[in-house]
Amino acid sequence: MAILVDDNTKLLVQGITGREGAFHTGRMVESGTNVVAGVTPGKGGQTADGGVPIFNTVSEAVEETGANASVIFVPPQFAADAIFESLGSDMKTVCCITEGVPVHDMMRVANYLRFKDATLIGPNCPGVLSPGQANVSIMPRSIFAEGNVGVVSRSGTLTYQVVNELTQMGIGQTSAVGIGGDPIIGTDFIEILSLFEADPETECAVMIGEIGGNAEQRAAEYIQSEMTTPVVAYIAGFTAPEGKTMGHAGAIVSGGDTTAEAKSNALRKAGIRAAENPSEVAQLVADALGK
């Protein structure tokens, strides 16, 4: 069983006619995802590559196609509005790929989300991919394989790195979720880990963290107290200096708790396997699965 997106996903692409939106819509369709609609205000009535109908508004698109998940490629200044628009049409899963969304916009979105029975992934994330079912992401489908490992990560390329090593060892994935590298994101590790915990097919979960914030420590507490599914973790950024943003807006050491070392220690204290580098992750997963 996959989490968040699966065979029942009817995907809407917000910003479908932009460069990124158009390119990745093609890839998602190629991966077999059921892309039912696109939205670009002012281009309603047109058709995107792959025959996807375009609408002016999400509300119209949902009414016409029954879309139940959306992926957002609009420029950062319009991203919060695009998320609100999806939530306004009661979308269940929203992936915001867009990078560079203002933090205050995201605070408003994140607090509004408390009202809604919806999961927002991102922003500044690669999305969600459930091999063999749905690809609501910008991740390369080719490196994935169907299987029993759930992956959740703050980083896109580190996800690819780990997934690729898993696949090469013959270990497939239920779903891979990139939760995003921004300081304020819709969904944290804990929510995704709880979905993996509840999923009978996920036999092991991989959590890839990095410097900044303390989401990994909170996840460690959750894993220790609530999870029976084994978890393998890896934290990037041991050598990051204080006060410097390392690529991701949220990857910044700003105090003792926010270093990779502090996070790895917290994980190990909670009895969680924490790898030193991405290659070790795959090996630890194989161990956990008894392979």
Binding site: R27, P76, Q77, G100, V101, P102, V103, H104, M106, M107, R108, A110, N111, Y112, I138, M139, P140, S142, I143, S153, R154, S155, G156, T157, L158, T159, Y160, Q161, N164, G181, P183, I184, I208, E210, I211, G212, G213, N214, A215, R218, A236, G237, F238, T239, A240, P241, K244, T245, M246, G247, H248, A249, G250, A251, G255, A260, E276, N277, P278, S279
Partner: protein, 383 residues
């Protein structure tokens, strides 16, 4: 984006916070003139984007234009934690009754703004948190309703102020939140916030950090960026749309994706080396961006070897290899470059590199092997 003290104060003033009269000076003469205009005792304060300038001798209190000129002469050009002082702020004096601490920042865990207040000001808030935690008030501000009147009352009662001073204090809180939200700040800190003998509530020192992602809607703030004070290569990288952070080691590092590059630094350190930088060329980097990135990384004189770590995702390995070769043609780098190419079409990519590259380019299949090789080459002194 961090603002200088004087810029932050200017911004806070626009939102109604009260400050002392002050002027920026970039020469001792300007500092003299500023002191003449302000009159009385003034503080000549180094403007640097780092803390601890007081201990470093970057603040001098003087009583005359002559002394101010001398003080500015001493402070300008001073090095404070690697930052060269290019300007000073000449600020008037006040009779201070008490010093307090006030800040608002983005709290990542709660996803709301966090207001911190303490009756203990002028010292580091983390120190206060350890020594006098009972003096600290913490409250969260929900962006959907903003800073509420009852919250202002809570902090005002905690301040122990009364009468008109309490009212000014409440107004200060309100205005500070307006500034925080209005300027898309991730941090506004007033330390110390002072109450003068005549009951005024003033911002004596302030730190303002504005969210980089919001600068498109704050053109005025974006223009305050002091390109001259930034590391020239970091500045160049920023202009080229690359993420680059200079570090102290000798192994230059490039890669695609922030997480992968952070991890690359880690494996280099684990292999016994020291990374010279962080450089993320992004997912769809073309030959020109790669050559710019290579140029920036190798312009660091400490660099003895370069580790280019690529995971071919949507951009296939063979395409990346071609891009790298095209980039190499544009530069004449002699330093050894270790390329690790993995992911989609990695083998094809490695073959292309093996057939076409100059002698100083080495390919490896795994991150760990590549890191070891790069460290080894750096230790050999880059030959």
């Amino acid at each position: 984006m961090d603002l200088y003290e004087h810029q932050g104060k200017e911004l806070l003033k626009e939102y109604g916070l009260e400050t002392l009269p002050g002027k920026v000076a970039t020469t001792p003469e300007e500092a003299r003139k500023a002191t003449e205009e302000i009159g009385g005792t003034v503080a000549v304060k180094a403007q640097v984007l780092t803390g601890g300038r007081g201990k470093a001798g970057g603040i001098k209190v003087v009583d005359s234009p002559d002394e101010a000129e001398k003080a500015a002469d001493q402070i300008l050009g001073m090095d404070i934690k690697g930052h060269t002082v290019g300007r000073v702020y000449v600020e008037g004096g006040a009779e201070i009754e008490t010093e307090m601490y006030l800040s608002i920042m983005v709290d990542r865990e709660k996803k709301q703004s966090l207001l911190l207040f303490s009756t203990e000001g002028g010292i580091d808030i983390e120190e206060v948190a350890e020594t006098k935690p009972e003096t600290i008030v913490r409250l969260y501000i929900d962006p959907l309703v903003g800073l509420q009147p009852f919250q202002i009352r809570e902090v005002t009662f905690a301040s122990g102020l009364s009468g008109d001073t309490a009212k000014s204090f409440g107004k200060t809180l309100q205005n500070l939140y307006k500034a925080f939200e209005g300027a898309d700040a991730s941090l506004v800190e007033i330390n110390p916030l002072v109450v003068t003998k005549d009951g005024k509530v003033l911002t004596l020192d302030s730190k303002v950090t504005v969210d980089n992602s919001s600068l498109y809607r704050h053109k005025d703030i974006a223009e305050l960026h002091d390109a001259a004070a930034a590391d020239p290569q970091e500045q160049r990288a920023q202009e080229a749309g690359l993420q680059y952070v200079k570090l102290d080691g000798d192994v230059g590092i490039l890669g695609n994706g922030a997480g992968l590059v952070m991890s690359t630094l880690d494996v280099v350190a684990q292999a016994g080396g020291e990374p010279a930088n962080f450089c993320d060329v992004g997912g769809g980097a073309d030959a020109e961006q790669i050559s710019t990135a290579l140029d920036i990384v190798t312009s660091n004189e400490n660099v003895r070897s370069v580790f280019f770590n690529i995971f071919g995702g949507i951009t296939r390995g063979d395409e990346v290899a071609k891009g790298l070769l095209a980039a190499m043609e544009r530069t004449d780098i002699k330093l050894p470059i270790v390329v690790r190419l993995d992911g989609t079409n990695a083998e094809e990519g490695r073959e292309i590199l093996a057939e076409n590259t100059p002698e100083n380019v080495h390919t490896e299949e795994t991150m760990l092997d590549a890191a070891a090789r790069a460290v080894e080459l750096a230790k050999k002194g880059g030959n």
